[in-house]
Amino acid sequence: MKVHEFEIIVNKLGLKVRNSGDRLAWFEYNGKTVVRTKRSHGNKEQPVHMIRQQLKLSEQQLAGLIRCNVSLTDYVQILKNKKIIVDVPPPDSSPSEPNPRAKDFQT
């Protein structure tokens, strides 16, 4: 993977980045850090299969991400399908059903 391809992914997914020994990038969703990846500084070729694994993508999906076939929404859906992103329902939204065993304890 070329450096500019990595940067396309960073911009498209809105990854947060920090420059350290390497350029670190991580994806946040709903305030949670979900996946992270990195590339080394300089213009050398990046190990695409390792970056792909860190981003939890297949070869096709990664190629689509670089070529604009896969959008941010698609990426979130991919992560949800893989249970990397878990939607936690807000506490108030769950219907308060009576516990069927509750009466057992009461009696």
């Binding site: 350290s20 020994g21 390497d22 670190l24 991580w26 969703y29 305030g31 949670k32 850090t33 979900v34 996946v35 992270r36 990195k38 080394s40 050398k44 070729e45 190990p47 390792m50 694994q53 860190q54 939890k56 249970k83 990397i84 992103i85 878990v86």
Partner: protein
């Protein structure tokens, strides 16, 4: 034969040796006392790079490896990639040791960032954090001093 003095070597030592050493810019040939009948040549094949390693230390003063880290090593062109599959982390370099050094630095950074973000980690990174803590610990201040 009148030899040039600069070619004479170790004439005072009793062991039989070649008497004349040619200068470096000429073919390297020596005069031997005996005729050579047989020469045995051992050709050693270049040792191949191991594909799996156990990393027992990382090059960061603040961290200690408490369980050897299983590393996969592979080459892509001139780059060597050392990866820790269980946590999907990798390091690169021109040699195995440089790739392992890079991986060690990455592991140290990963430890610091995951520890700082512990309450906000997604399920996958939470799992990575749990694995990481089984292999690496931070040194106590008096240890790293």
């Amino acid at each position: 034969m009148a030899a040039n003095p600069q070619y004479l070597v170790n004439q005072n030592i009793e062991q039989p040796k070649a008497r004349i050493v040619p200068p470096l810019d000429r073919p390297q040939a020596v005069a031997l006392q005996e005729k050579i009948h047989r020469i045995k040549v051992h050709v050693r094949t270049r040792a191949s790079r191991p594909s799996k390693l156990l990393l027992g230390t990382i090059n960061h003063a603040k961290f200690r490896v408490i369980k050897a880290i299983p590393i996969n090593v592979e080459s892509r062109g001139k780059t060597v990639i050392a990866s820790w599959r269980e946590v999907d982390e990798f390091g690169t370099g021109r040699s195995t040791s440089l790739a392992c050094d890079d991986l060690g630095r990455t592991i140290a950074e990963l430890y610091v960032s995951l520890k700082a973000d512990e309450p906000r980690l997604g399920p996958d990174l939470a799992n990575v954090w749990n694995v990481l803590r089984k292999y690496v610990v931070m040194r106590a201040p008096h240890e790293s001093a």
